[in-house]
């Protein structure tokens, strides 16, 4: 796995990415109105399933049974997070989009 061993420049680069991402995150999200807090939360929850990318690499490059098991489990749980998160968010947002007056019960 030599491609994953990082030199100093790469560390600094990752640090830069990290810091800038945090700032962008703060900037973008501080403007969300309170009525959309639930979809925002579940939408960003779905994004946190990005760890799926890591899990996919882990299982695809696994050596031996143990790392295969760990990787496969990671893929399963991360996919639950991603798929479930986006579908739930979509269901919620669907309700926000209905025209007033429609679908009275």
């Amino acid at each position: 796995m030599d491609s994953q061993i990082c030199n100093e420049a790469c560390l600094i680069c990752m640090g830069l990415i990290l810091v800038l991402s945090i700032f962008i995150g703060f900037e973008v999200i501080s403007k969300v109105p309170s009525r959309l807090h639930t979809p925002l939360m579940s939408g960003s929850n779905a994004i946190s399933g990005i760890t799926l990318v890591g899990a996919v690499i882990a299982v695809g490059s696994a050596w031996g049974t143990m790392s295969l098991i760990l990787g496969t489990l990671a893929v399963v749980f991360a996919t639950v997070n991603v798929v479930g998160g986006y579908v739930v968010t979509d269901r919620m947002l669907q309700m926000f989009q209905k025209k007033p007056g429609e679908g009275k019960q």
Partner: protein, 458 residues
């Protein structure tokens, strides 16, 4: 040939889609498209990762994706809208566990990867573990599988402190010789799971939305740490977005309750009243659905104040019907939304949107409080702590200082409630004994249905 450039280029595209998607979430009109864009970003990121040169075997990964996709998709489709908070908690825990496993896998494969990588592995496992078990407890509390009340015992803070110190010592032992420290590593995983349980059990009551958004933030940070551990940019970027968004949301919730995060996490809301909280007493005046109809009919401005009880009894549709009937008679109707009403941030907005209440009718706390004295009738539906005047009047109350919807200042208050039991926070509510309060006992959906029937009988 290797695909490093293509992969990382696509990661940049994915990151842009995440940012733009979150940006579109700032308006109800574009929000759905925003979520879709963010999903496209995720799809691209995962697909392009398959080109990674280290990946030699696709079988298990595809099986895993299929299983996870089916589970996640089914749950998300089948879940009731009322169960949304606990579902989000469960998904969140799932993401935390995945980060833990990625960290564990990274350590298992390359225990000699150096101090930086091992530090990030340690963080991914620790935060992922806390997120996982914490979310499970939150799920249990929200779905009432375990008691929602804060669970406190003597020396709890001390025990948590010791736990953190032990984890930190374990962490430094592990980092000083990662290749020989497998047992210590497993111990850290175990303790991080215990820590997650310990941090969430003392929290209850109106604090649940805070915990949910905080755990959401943790799951992002865990993904971010996992990204640093395996040197993957998109994990770092997306994890940092989620971490930042969760922290902002947590902060908004804390402000809404006028409490610090420390106080939420360690205060044990609602469990310990500082001794002499004022004795609540007086006479409770019950009212029938028919009399409620007369009061509502004579009013010119009505405000509904919903709480978790609205979600429990699924009364949002019949409430909308009642609102429409009132409006047909020229009565001004508004829905007063407290920022922490319900069990997750923005819970009431989702429920009322489900019943097609137009969002211009949802009035935020500060605005409604400004004109609450001019409102003839406030109808409280399954809300308790967020309208408790003790927050303003009783310096000994555990909710003292929390901003509330000041319904007691309106002309008449009608409280829809199943019984006199105290709210989720476990404190008595002096509102029920006020001169201008009337109690309409029964299930919210049934009670509102009866009022609607009265309107229709005329």
């Amino acid at each position: 040939m290797n695909f490093i450039l293509l992969i990382n280029g696509t990661y940049i595209v994915a990151a842009v889609l995440f940012i733009y998607g979150l940006k579109l979430l700032t308006s109800p009109v574009t929000a759905r498209r925003g979520n879709l864009l963010s999903a496209v970003g995720m799809f691209l990121a995962v697909v392009v990762t398959l080109l990674n040169e280290e990946i030699i075997d696709y079988r298990w990964m595809l099986i895993g994706i299929a299983i996870g996709g089916i589970i996640g998709g089914l749950f998300a489709r089948l879940v009731q809208m009322t169960q949304m908070p606990e579902m989000v908690a469960l998904f969140n825990g799932s993401g935390g566990l995945a980060s833990l496993l990625v960290g564990w896998g990274a350590y298992h494969v390359m225990p000699l990867a150096g101090l930086f990588v091992m530090t990030t592995v340690f963080l991914a496992v620790l935060i992922g573990g806390v997120t996982f078990s914490g979310s499970l407890i939150a799920w249990g509390k929200l779905s009432e599988r375990i008691p929602g009340r804060p669970m406190l015992f003597r020396g709890q803070t001390l025990l948590n402190g010791v736990l953190v110190i032990v984890i930190l010592i374990g962490g430094s032992l592990f980092l000083s010789a990662p290749e020989t420290s497998y047992p210590i590593f497993l111990g850290i995983i175990l303790l991080s799971l215990v820590l997650g349980v310990m941090v969430v059990i003392p929290i209850g009551g109106a604090d649940m939305p805070v915990v949910i958004s905080l755990l959401n933030s943790y799951s992002g940070i865990a993904a971010c740490a996992a990204g640093l551990a395996i040197t993957n940019n998109i994990l770092i970027v997306a994890g940092a977005f989620v971490g930042a968004s969760g922290i902002i949301l947590t902060n908004v919730m804390c402000k809404a309750m006028n409490r610090s995060l420390y106080n939420v996490l360690f205060g044990g809301f609602g469990a310990v009243t500082k001794g002499a909280a004022a004795e609540v007493g007086g006479e409770v005046k019950a009212i029938s659905a028919q009399d409620t109809y007369y009061i509502l009919e004579a009013a010119s401005a009505v405000a509904f104040v919903p709480g978790y009880g609205l979600a429990v009894s699924q009364a949002q549709h019949v409430l909308k019907e009642l609102g429409d009937l009132l409006e047909e008679r020229g009565i001004e109707v508004s829905y007063a939304i407290h920022p922490v009403a319900g069990r997750m941030p923005g819970h009431m907005n989702v429920l009322l949107a489900e019943a097609d209440v137009p969002y211009e009718k949802l009035i935020e706390m500060e605005q409604i409080n400004r004109r609450i004295a001019n409102i003839d009738v406030c109808v409280i539906i399954g809300a308790n702590d967020i309208v408790n005047p003790a927050a303003r009047e009783d310096t000994n109350s555990s909710i003292y200082g929390m901003p509330i919807i000041e319904v007691d200042r309106s002309k008449t208050v009608i409280v829809l409630k199943r019984s006199m039991a105290p709210g989720f926070a476990g404190i008595d509510n002096s509102l029920f004994y006020k001169e201008n309060s009337r109690m309409l006992f029964g299930d919210a959906k049934g009670s509102i249905g009866e009022i609607v029937a009265e309107f229709k009988n005329v």
